[in-house]
Amino acid sequence: MNDHSACAAALLAVDPRGLGGASLRARPGVERDAWIDTLVRLMPGRVACRRIPSNVGDGRLLGGLDLAATLRAGRLVEERGLLAECDGGVAILAMAERASPGMAASLACAMDSGRVAVARDGLERSHHARFLLVALDEGAEPDEQPPAVLLDRVAFHLAPGLEDAPWRADDIAEARRRLPRVSADDAALQALAQAAIALGIGSQRAELLALRAARAHAALQGRIAIEPIDLEVAAHLVLGPRATRIPSPSPPPPPNAPDEAEQNGGEQERAEALQETIVEAAQASLPPGLLGMAGPTASSRGGKAGRSGPALRNGIRGRRIGARRGELQRGARVDLVETLRAAAPWQALRRRARTGRRIVILPQDLRLSRHEAKRRSTAIFVVDASGSAALHRLAEAKGAVLLMLADCYVRRDEVALVAFRGSAADLLLPPTRSLVRAKKCLTALPGGGGTPLAAGLDAAFSAALGARRAGASPLVVLLTDGRANVARDGRPDRASAEAEADQAGTLFVRHAVPSVLVDVSPQPRPQACRLAVAMGARYAPLPRAGAADIAGTVAIEMARHADSLRPA
């Protein structure tokens, strides 16, 4: 796929601060290790690589109080976080697709400012954190991606192959010296901006990173002026993988063309020709799924933030909401910092009384963490987008889902979206709180084709179990007319399709997955009602109840199930 990955490593070595880093989409293996080795070999001087696990907590990532040392020394001792430890080196983020939004934001902030600010556990510090980020992306599904805030900030999104890097560290050092003198003319800037627009790239960081990549490439080639080849390499490495649409064959003329064209017609033509070659270069590295995807869906998938991080950290359920005084019982968790805080004022006194110990902690100092055990709710919408439903009322069903989404949004519930049509079902949107993304997915959903109802139920069921594993309580909201005509194996066979659907429905009962079946057919039919019974679902026919009523029903169901699952 990507035939310039060694070149990307060299460019990073030339301008690590400017280019931010790279995301490597690959399974663990020789290719990935070789790429990292190449990068480290090319960086002048000795460069340390530091691994950051994707499940690391804020305390370790940002730094904070070193409790053991503080207790030993009897004064505040700081523990530096991983971000500060990465300063001057390479930060390797393992399983980047699992990084939580909060962690990604901390990394992004450090990349922007070159510093990490810590305001935790009674400490306030600021440290240098200038590092090159290598995000290891092991996502298997197209929507399993590193958080968008990180992808936005690393110049290169690579799928590294085994390639020779014909450069030595000396070449890089030489290029680094040349880099500040490399200049770019207006035509280059113009061409990059136009190419970014043509490829549907939303973030302006893309063209800025492309410009820096072009400059680093020129420096690497021993030049101090940017030439078309530098822009082509930059477009291929930086712009192509970020594309969200395939550019139309002839790019539109720039809006300011008329008067400028008169002044310097030759210049304008040159810029247009340049832009065309750049877009062509970028097209060789478009993301793999782009060709088969409907336009808007592509960009919404690109916006995936790593949401799949484990919700239950360290076996603690719920969000920590403070500490309370208390005794140690089974299952109680000591809040060490708060305990220390409680004991601190008495130390001078206690030290006089007892000797030999730097810090004296008595039972009355103990503070226990309190956690809010409220479960998140995840509404999994399963939309029948097949021909029969589309004929009837796919539009209304979409409207109902939108209303329900709005309701979930107000209550801060997560939503997921499964759609089935043709011969298969897709999880279009993994659980998210982002309404913008849910909406993009839904509006882009086409209708038509057969009705693989069982496949839809299977997908919904596994999404529900996934949500449960992540600590949420799922509710499946199925919008269908209950008529199935495509069997699991893709054959058009009404009888076995309906039997399979009923059978798939029983799984919901057996695993106590709560569900609501919204019958979208104009005249409710027995099939949908029968399926609801098989699933143990609440049955809500859309024609009688308006979309708003259904949204209300779902809200009540969600509240009910979330309550019944809330630990006492």
Binding site: D58, L62, T70, G74, R75, L76, P101, A105, S106, C109, S113, R115, V116, A117, V118, A119, R120, D121, G122, L123, E124, S126, A148, V149, D152, P180, A184, D186, Q190, L192, A193, A196, G202, S203, Q204, R205, A206, E207, L208, L211, P254, P255, N256, A305, G322, L340, R341, A342, A344, P345, Q347, A348, L349, A406, Y409, T432, R433, S434, V436, R437
Partner: protein, 309 residues
């Protein structure tokens, strides 16, 4: 204790290309902090935090405190000074970020990722202007008047709707669609990255002008009159778009007054109301959050009715 230092050199505020509504909202908040906080939401890479940091550099006498990600509550509100307690056995209050932000700005990037209870706390203190600390056996209260500036990207998750209307102004930033602005953004950012000193020197005069305008406007603010029928117009406008409560009207009025002061005009005119109404109202409308067009067109329509051209 060491305090986080400001970034060595911030991108000059006046060198930010485009994004006029965001810049105007920040200036209005700097002129009249009682307008309430500013929320900046929108696309990645549109210079949201660049603008806030640029404003901080522009107004050197106004504190600008960054709330770092992962900050714990004790450092935000203030708590027992552990260092002194451990070493000397003294029970002393260590002020937090809120104390430092007094009479200035408190900036929260990725405000949608902040724990809900911290956001509540910040908004409460920002509204009351006082920080009350009851913890660790300490009972302390100190003034904390600050303008809360939050920024974020809606794709990371929206802000709770209950919190939205507690910000005074709300700005939506989009990546500029035209080549000319994008090229200009790239050109300036590139020049800044390569030679920050030279670049900032080049914009020092422009930044100085903005600073002078803000300082003059602050001075003039108490003397700006409400023009004829302005209050009635604002009330009608708020009624037409269906915002309830006095806060919406007050915010439009104050923002318009700050804008009038900024533009050295002796009284508030329709022109001022027209420009501040969208950021002051769009997040307060009862709206379908899925409505594609958002609430801005509704405000524009109401404006056209209240102030016919």
């Amino acid at each position: 204790m060491k305090t986080p230092t400001r970034a060595a050199r911030a991108f000059p505020f006046s060198a930010i290309a485009g994004q006029d509504e965001m810049k105007l909202a920040l200036l209005i908040a700097a002129i009249d902090p009682s307008v309430g906080g500013v929320l900046v939401f929108g696309d990645r890479g549109t210079g949201k935090s660049t603008a806030v940091r640029g404003l901080a550099a522009l107004l050197p006498r106004v504190p600008m405190v960054d709330l770092p990600l992962g900050a714990t509550e004790d450092r935000v509100v203030g708590a027992l000074n552990l260092e002194r307690a451990l070493a000397e056995g003294v029970k002393a209050f260590e002020p937090g970020l809120l104390a430092r932000a007094d009479r200035g700005f408190l900036y929260v990037d990725e405000v949608n990722l902040l724990e809900d209870h911290l956001v509540d706390l910040l908004l409460d203190v920002a509204a009351s202007g006082e920080n009350v600390v009851e913890r660790d056996g300490l009972s302390v209260r100190h003034p904390a008047r600050f303008v809360l500036v939050g920024s974020g990207n809606p794709e990371e998750g929206e802000l709770r709707p209950q919190l939205l209307d507690r910000f005074g102004l709300s700005v939506e930033v989009r990546t500029p669609p035209d080549v000319a602005t994008r090229v200009e953004v790239m050109r300036r950012r590139d020049a800044f990255d390569r030679e920050p000193e030279t670049f900032c020197r080049g914009w020092r005069r422009e930044d100085g002008k903005v600073r002078a305008r803000v300082e003059d406007a602050r001075e003039r603010l108490p003397r700006v009159d409400a023009g004829d029928g302005v209050l009635e117009g604002v009330a009608t406008l708020c009624q037409k778009v269906g915002t309830d409560g006095l806060r919406a009207e007050l915010t439009v009025f104050r923002a318009a007054r700050a804008l009038a002061a900024l533009e050295n005009s002796p009284c508030i005119g329709p022109n001022h109301v027209r420009r501040v109404a969208p950021p002051a109202l769009r997040h307060r409308l009862r709206r379908d959050p899925l409505d594609e067009a958002g609430s801005t067109p509704r405000i524009e329509r109401a404006l056209a009715e209240v102030y016919p051209a």
